[in-house]
């Protein structure tokens, strides 16, 4: 089974599904939904088989495939996955069916074609898988840019208030980053010996000054994508305007392309530049953690609030990456997965609340737990996971990031810890103002607020809750896959973990 071309099939399959779904008759939207859901389940099954086939202790890159594309420029369809990519692919495969299920009725209010909405989701899945599976810089760039198009239409055509503004802002921000990256990609191609193959480029000998400029080109694109402070302003707008399902994918997966790109491209290709820029990147991460958390506290719009929390979390991931220790790096990658699960859940649950109330304003809620106790409970759980309560998966990743950072850079770790306190503040206040306290009398007049979670919605949240709890107690299967890849990345950067102090070793021996 290990010779099966998993990555190319996984990339192409959703695209074929999208075509099928788009061609289904508009009059029968239910059929389109079912086909789309079934298709995404197929992709999930295939991904699970791929996960099982992956040998955690084996080569760094597995499932490598390579086909010629544009020989004149040395461009090839090269796919390969390391542990980091594998985890992200798995996250996509899990989230997409749940998002489709959660978005069952989202497209119906929009006066637009329902099948097209689900076709766009599948196209998005295809491009997201492609971007994580690519091992050719050109191919990566292609997916990185094309990914914008389905998301643009998801936000712009099916979104809520101010969707046009948000869609254009999202597209332009990402395009700006992408074009800087294009300049860097071309530069890399010129100095790297006219090849785009990652394996060859890693060994290319690049002059220090050039490497720093190229690093900056890539980093800018990824920092906008992630987004890191101060390139984050598009995310709250896009997150608020996007339909809840698309927003879950936007924040849960799409933004991870930024941090993934830093790990896969910025660090190994330009190790010296990465070390040189690390202090600045750490500073950006720290500012992001504190600043976004403060802004989140002050939000009155639920989706904007969740968007800001996620900017704060990306600060943590950034700190974890640029601390250059295996622990922090593993924590960062684990955070990418856990944040996808936790924030994805939070976005979906918030979406369910908003769909019922018909408003995203926190002030329009109040005591909703008395009407929809189950939904309120899930929101509380998602909030706790998001603030990294011990026992939920994000705790482990946040802890690893702080631990790994503390060993090399104590002030950064200490400041970052403040972010945890602020996280408790914005999550608990949000939960309190929406579901706890005295019942807002206006709520009882809204029909939707009398319906608690139905079976479909339970099916959406249950797997996510189960995964968050499971990975909170037993993250080993995932860390086993991540660890070798992160170690290899840190070796590329030329950083080794600080040796434990002698005293602790003796204590351990005793």
């Amino acid at each position: 089974m290990s010779n099966f071309p998993f990555l190319s099939v996984l990339t192409v399959a959703p695209l074929v599904g999208a075509l099928v779904v788009a061609l289904l008759p508009r009059r029968n939207p239910e059929l389109a939904k079912q086909v789309a859901f079934g298709w995404s389940l197929l992709v999930l099954v295939l991904s699970v088989i791929m996960w099982i086939t992956f040998q955690a202790g084996g080569d760094r890159f597995q499932f490598r495939e390579s086909y010629p594309w544009i020989p004149t420029w040395g461009v090839r369809f090269t796919f390969a996955a390391d542990g980091i990519a594998l985890v992200m692919l798995m996250l996509i495969a899990i989230l997409v069916p749940l998002v489709i299920l959660a978005s069952w009725h989202d497209a119906e209010h929009s006066k637009r074609s329902v099948p097209v909405y689900f076709a766009l989701l599948l196209i998005l899945e295809s491009t997201m898988i492609g971007v994580f599976a690519a091992a050719d810089v050109f191919l990566f760039y292609v997916f990185f840019e094309v990914m914008l198009v389905p998301m643009y239409f998801l936000i712009g055509s099916y979104g809520g208030h101010q969707r046009q503004y948000a869609a254009v802002k999202f597209f332009l921000y990402s395009l700006v980053g992408g074009l800087f990256m294009l300049a860097a990609v071309i530069g890399l191609w010129v100095v790297g010996g006219r090849t785009f193959d990652w394996n060859q480029l890693v060994n290319a000998d690049i002059a220090t000054g050039t490497a720093r400029w190229l690093f900056l080109g890539f980093f800018l694109a990824f920092a906008i994508k992630a987004p890191f402070f101060p390139f984050h302003t598009w995310l709250p707008d896009a997150g608020r305007a996007a339909p809840a399902g698309a927003a879950a994918l936007l924040v849960g997966v799409l933004d991870k392309v930024g941090t993934f790109g830093i790990l896969r491209y910025c660090l190994p290709l330009f190790p010296e530049a990465a070390r040189w820029f690390a202090p600045y990147a750490l500073a950006l991460g720290l500012i992001g953690i504190i600043y976004a958390a403060l802004l989140a506290v002050g939000q009155n719009d639920l989706k904007r609030l969740v968007s800001y929390t996620s900017i704060a979390h990306f600060g943590f991931i950034g700190v974890g990456i640029f601390a250059f220790t295996t622990q922090a790096g593993t924590g960062a990658v684990l955070y990418m997965l856990n944040h996808g699960l936790a924030t994805g859940l939070l976005f979906l649950v918030v979406g369910m609340l908003i769909a019922r109330r018909g408003s995203a304003m926190i002030s329009d809620f109040g005591g909703a737990g008395k009407l929809v106790p189950l939904l309120a409970g899930v929101l509380f759980f998602a909030g706790l996971a998001s603030l990294a309560l011990p026992g939920t998966a994000p705790f482990i990743s946040e802890f690893l990031v702080l631990l790994g950072t503390f060993t090399v850079n104590k002030p950064v770790a200490v400041i970052a810890t403040l972010g945890i306190v602020l996280a408790a503040a914005y999550v608990l206040w949000m939960v309190q103002r929406t579901t706890q306290g005295t019942l807002n009398p206006a709520l009882t007049e809204v029909d939707g607020m009398r319906r608690d979670l139905n079976l479909r919605e339970k099916a959406v949240v249950a797997p996510l809750i189960a995964l968050i709890v499971l990975l909170g107690f037993y993250p080993k299967p995932v860390t086993d896959v991540i660890n070798p890849a992160v170690q290899a990345t840190m070796q590329d950067v030329g950083k080794t973990d600080p040796a434990p102090e002698v005293g602790t070793v003796q204590e351990a021996n005793r």
Partner: protein, 517 residues
């Protein structure tokens, strides 16, 4: 008295040019002798047959690398590639020009001599069949362009410039609707074009003066002589630089590069849309073909001197095109500014003095031509009772009214914006990579920055079409006749194929990327 020595002429190598010019002459005769009601069909088929015949000869000649007609014409890789590109794009343009089912009687005025806005004019606008003189005019223009990219001395180049420019001035004036705008455009184009031709001719004279006095060579304006004279001529280099500058003005005018671009938006807007498409695609190929040959062959030795200046022109062109495109409210003017910006990107390729730079520029020219013709084909279709609805606000909600054409136009706009999997991306890569390789990083950075600016107007149109609600005045999209549909499909298919699988054309361009001297 010495005997006149006749130059040997390789008629086979010149056959594409001869076919087009001959066809133009026959076209004039058709105009005189074929009954009026058959003329349209006969002229269209004849012009298309001539283009296809010329194209066949280009393909058959594809291995030629020679100078002929006493060194006045060079038939080499770039010539053949660009002639092929011009002919294919011209065939698409002819399909658009020949369309008569979208607008009754075609896009052209029946009798240009009738006073605009008069009673007679209104009557003929109602549906009198358009003038068929457009076909011989177009054929003449194509013939001139074929010579222009092959010209190997400055005088031949000047004559070719006039041969293809004069018919274009006339074609611009022949719009059926909004005739005053059309005539104004033609007037503007003619006057400015005449000035720029004068600059070009003056430049030729200065360069001739510069080549005089080189030991062992007589003065001349063929590229071999100029090439030899650069660096060895005892004449003042002021002559050379002034000559290059004046020649460049003439060529950059045709290429629509800033600051010689001011005619572009007005002419693109006023001219009948198929002619606009023809100019945006074919004139661009011809102008850049000539620029490439002049700078890579004749003045290659002076590259150190002209590169910074031309680089500044390129940056200015990109900036002007991108920034002014943002403020446009008319789709044809928007495409005109986008075409100016694209001239800037092409100049980046021209300034990469390598085989890759040359092949990348040629690839860009072909790819852009297909996309821009497809774009103007869509523009001809979006119309209301008064003809084409070119104001952007009228395009609001077009995605609801006619999702297919809106989708096609969106795809073309994404190509212009340089999104991967379209030819716009591969062609940008094709010119930026050699420029960076040649150490012109500043041009690439400018190109990237202006691409960002330029993405905004394109995106605004996409937003208009898809995300806005259709208004009362949203026009419908006419059902395209077979000709327009064919041209549109060729353009869109080429935009997609050159984006997904550019390798064959890239190989072709790279195999052709060597000038004979």
């Amino acid at each position: 008295m010495t005997e006149l020595k006749l130059p040997s002429i390789d008629y086979a190598a010149l056959s594409p040019i001869l076919i087009m010019l001959g066809a133009a002459l026959v076209g004039v005769l058709i105009e005189a002798f074929v009954p009026r009601r058959h003329r349209h069909l006969v002229q269209l088929l004849f012009a298309l047959a001539a283009v296809l015949g010329a194209l066949t000869m280009v393909v058959l000649n594809s291995d030629d690398r020679l100078l002929t007609a006493a060194g006045a014409i060079a038939i080499d890789g770039p010539t053949l590639f660009l002639q092929g590109a011009i002919l294919i794009l011209a065939a698409m343009a002819l399909l658009l020009i020949g369309e008569r089912s979208v607008e009754r009687g075609g896009y052209f005025v029946a009798q240009a001599a009738v006073t605009a806005e008069s009673v007679d004019d209104r009557r003929q606008a109602e549906g009198a069949n358009g003038a068929t003189e457009v076909y011989p005019l177009t054929t003449f223009a194509i013939g001139g362009m074929l010579i222009f990219v092959a010209a190997n001395d400055l005088l031949t180049m000047f004559i070719a410039l006039e041969v293809f420019s004069l018919p274009l001035y006339l074609l611009c004036a022949l719009a059926r609707r909004r005739r005053l705008l059309s005539q104004e455009a033609a007037m503007k184009y003619f006057l400015l074009g005449a000035y720029s031709s004068a600059f070009f001719l003056f430049g030729v004279a200065l360069v001739y003066g510069f080549t005089a006095g080189v030991p062992g060579r007589s003065a001349g304006v063929d590229f071999a002589t100029i090439h030899a004279a650069v660096g060895t001529s005892p004449a003042s280099s002021v002559l050379l630089f002034a000559g290059i500058a004046l020649l460049s003005i003439g060529l950059l005018f045709k290429a629509a590069a800033a600051p010689f671009h001011v005619w572009t938006p007005d002419v693109y807007q006023g001219a009948p849309t198929p002619v606009t498409g023809f100019m945006a695609a074919c004139t661009k190929v011809a102008a850049f073909g000539a620029l490439l040959r002049v700078f890579h062959v004749a003045f290659a030795g002076a590259a150190w001197d002209f590169t910074p200046v031309l680089g500044a022109v390129a940056v200015l062109t990109m900036l002007v095109g991108a920034v002014l495109a943002v403020t446009q409210t008319d789709i044809k003017r928007l495409l005109a500014y986008s075409s100016i910006a694209n001239a800037g990107y092409l100049l980046v390729g021209v300034l990469a003095p390598s085989k890759d730079g040359l092949s990348g520029t040629m690839f860009y020219l072909a790819a852009y031509g297909f996309s821009v013709l497809a774009a103007f084909a869509v523009v001809t279709l979006v119309r209301d009772a008064d003809g084409e609805a070119t104001h952007l606000s009228r395009w609001a909600g077009l995605g609801r009214r006619s999702p297919f054409f809106a989708a096609v136009f969106t795809f073309i706009l994404l190509a212009f914006a340089g999104i991967p999997l379209t030819s716009g991306f591969t062609s940008k890569f094709a010119v930026f990579a050699p420029a960076l390789d040649a150490g012109q990083a500043w041009l690439v950075i400018a190109g990237v920055l202006t691409s960002m600016v330029l993405a905004f107007p394109y995106l605004r149109v996409v937003v208009m079409m898809w995300l806005s609600e259709p208004g009362e005045s949203t026009p419908t999209v006419a059902v395209p006749g077979g000709l327009t549909a064919a041209a549109l499909m060729i353009g869109v298919a080429a935009t997609l194929i050159l984006g997904v699988a550019p390798a064959p054309l890239l190989d072709l361009a790279s195999g052709a990327a060597e000038f004979v001297r």
